[in-house]
Symmetry: C2
Subunit: 105 residues, 2 copies
């Protein structure tokens, strides 16, 4: 099941623009204090670095991803999640738009 | 004064991607039922068509804009708003990223 809506969010109005706009997100804080972002990655192959651990939840489209140093790509599509440790690097390969919720911490 | 945050929003998690990603936004519904979006336009000159009337509020960066059929460009920067009637066309010209809240209705 995909998470179509997030309720009770405080939205940071200025977007985060990464990689010349291949990735755009908006930050959210929920009533319980948890931090998330909603974003989209457009067709590209990008390398991200985490601070806190992240759970990436796909809400539309799909991607392939792998941790730095890993050979095999795993796929993730709408309704699926994958976890990335803190202070790590991972690659995302997107053929069509990948829409996601990033859950921090 | 710029609107840095919007509280109590229900966020649609899937982004709206227009013009090959030159414009990306996320839809919001507030507690009072009002509809908005938060988005960013990357460097480009784009023509938009409105359904409902819109108020475009700049939260970071700047743009120039004009209604279809108008000669002169007006500028809008952080903290400033401009209004567009319903069922209208307008052009936006962006040199650096233009971050906005779109207030509908």
């Amino acid at each position: 099941m995909t998470t179509d809506k997030i309720d009770g969010a405080t939205v940071t109005t200025q977007a985060n623009v990464y990689f010349d706009g291949r990735c755009v997100s908006h930050g959210l804080v929920l009533a319980d204090g948890s931090r998330k972002s909603v974003g989209v990655i457009l067709p590209s192959t990008l390398t991200f670095t985490t601070g806190a651990p992240e759970v990436m939840e796909c809400v539309a489209g799909s991607c392939e991803w792998r941790l730095a140093g890993t050979e095999a790509w795993a796929s993730s599509r709408a309704g699926e999640k994958f976890s990335v440790p803190g202070n790590a690097r991972f690659e995302i390969r997107v053929a069509q738009a990948y829409h996601y919720i990033c859950h921090f911490g």
